[in-house]
Every structure is written in C-alpha cells, then in structure tokens.
C-alpha cells in the first residue's frame, strides 16, 4: 500500500452576506449577530483551502490531478458563490444562515459528491485573515 499524501488547492471568492435568524425579533438578531445583522448586508473576501488526502496513484504519481481539482472547485464553489449575495443569490443559503461554519459544510457536501470515495476531503475556509473554520473535524 502506498503512503497517504495530502494535496491542497487554494481558491478565493468575494461575497456579500447577512447573519440573521428570521424566526427571531430584530432586537434578538442585533443582540446575537451585532454588526453582521446589517439589513443591507456586508461582505468578505473568502479564502478557501481544499485538502485532499489519498494514496499516490502508481501510474500518474498523483493523489489527484490538481487541474481537475481546480476545475471542480471552480465549477462547484467559485462560480456559485463569487461576487454573489449568499443570502439572496444562492439556493444553498435561502433558509440556512451563511455563517463561515455553514458555508464550509455546504462546500464540503458539494465537493464530496464529485470526488472519488477513496479520497478524503477537508475544508478550511477563511472569512477574514483572522477568522477561519475547518470541516470535518478529525
């Protein structure tokens, strides 16, 4: 059995969002989400790191062709979220609060469907340089 190796692809997208729970009052939304509840939205430069872990293919020397991974991330994630309003423009967040946590899980689910089951997938998503989340947790 080959050794397992992790390969990474970094991408980025810019999006607007608002953190808001429609089942709560405005006062409660303000108390919990603060500035992030601004009715006219705010936005971020999201930085995404997709980690794929697997065994090296003996024929190619690759865990996964990074061009294929790049095209997959572009098609499934970047084209869907870049320069969009996550609350208004994306089906995934019509009824799901677009926190960094939820965005990471959504990205994982989108990519997991398209990847070989033998490959492990891990998502790190930076909402700002100082705030980032990871999914799944090992």
């Amino acid at each position: 059995m080959s050794k397992k190796v992790a390969v990474f692809r970094k991408e980025h997208f810019n999006a607007a969002h608002r953190l808001h729970n429609p089942s709560w009052t405005e006062a409660k939304n303000d108390a919990v989400f603060g500035l992030c509840n601004n009715p006219n939205f705010h936005g971020h430069n999201y930085e995404l790191i997709v980690k794929i872990t697997g065994e090296i293919d003996t024929a190619t020397g690759y865990v996964i062709d990074l061009k294929i991974l790049s095209d997959l991330v572009k098609a499934e994630v970047i084209d869907r979220f870049d320069h969009k309003n996550l609350n208004l423009d994306t089906a995934e967040f019509l009824s799901l609060n677009p926190t960094a946590e939820n965005i990471a899980v959504v990205i994982y689910d989108l990519l997991r469907l398209k990847l070989d089951t033998a490959l492990e997938l891990h998502i790190r998503l930076y909402e700002t340089e100082r705030n980032f989340v990871e999914y799944p947790v090992n």
Partner: protein
C-alpha cells in the same frame, strides 16, 4: 521627515453600477461586480501621515490618536456596511476602490493637527488589488 502608518480593516458589501446606464451596459463594463444584490470584501486600509518628530515626545503623532481618528471617521462608518446604501460620504458616488480611497482621505484630512500632513491612503480591496491616493 518621518512617515507613520496605521493599518486598519473593515468588511463591507458593494456593487459597481452606474444608474445612468442600462443593466446590459453595466454588466458589460463591470462584469460580476455589477451583481444587483451586491458582493463584498475584506478591505485593508493603510493611513500614512508625515512630519517631524516632536522634540518632547519623540512622536510624529500619537498613534493612539491616529487610530481613534481613523476609527471614528472611517471604520465606524464603513465596517459591516453596504457602501452603496449605508455610507453618507459615498452617497451618489461610484463605489470603486479608487473613489473610496479619495473619500477616506477627505474624511481624515480635516481632523489632523497642522503639523501632521496626510501622506497617503493605501486601500486593499483584495489581497491582490489595491489603490493608493496621495492627495
């Protein structure tokens, strides 16, 4: 002459859209940035002032005061806001990084003491795109 820089950051939504133009023309010129429902950025701001250090303090300007000025006149007005809709000093202006840098200069310049000159506003819209304005 010494130059002193304070770095700040804010997160905001905006869109590039000229209301005098058709939707098609806006999309042709501004592409994805014209998205009707906005998109957003983490902006990084560098405010640089220049002058001579004070003989008694050794300071060109108290950085705490500079920080408070930037916070009061810029960050509090821009952070977690929609630049097109929520910001008085961007009203009726195109929300490009260029115009935002000029507007930030105009927000800060009147509040600096005479011995401290504003040298530049450097504004990053993304880690790979920034503008500089020198007045």
């Amino acid at each position: 002459m010494v130059y002193l820089t304070r770095q700040e950051h804010f997160n905001a939504a905006h869109k590039l859209f000229n209301p005098k133009w058709s939707k098609e023309r806006n999309e042709e010129v501004f592409g994805l940035c014209a998205n009707e429902n906005w998109h957003g950025h983490n902006y990084d701001l560098y405010v640089t002032v220049k002058g001579e250090p004070d003989a008694d303090t050794g300071f060109l300007y108290d950085v705490k005061k500079l920080s408070q000025l930037v916070k009061q006149h810029v960050i509090d007005k821009l952070d977690h806001k929609n630049l097109n809709m929520d910001v008085d000093f961007m009203k009726d202006k195109m929300c490009s990084t260029e115009n935002l840098a000029i507007a930030i200069w105009q927000q800060l310049a009147p509040h600096l003491p005479v011995e401290v000159q504003l040298h530049s506003i450097k504004l990053y819209e993304t880690p790979r795109i920034y503008v500089e304005y020198f007045g």
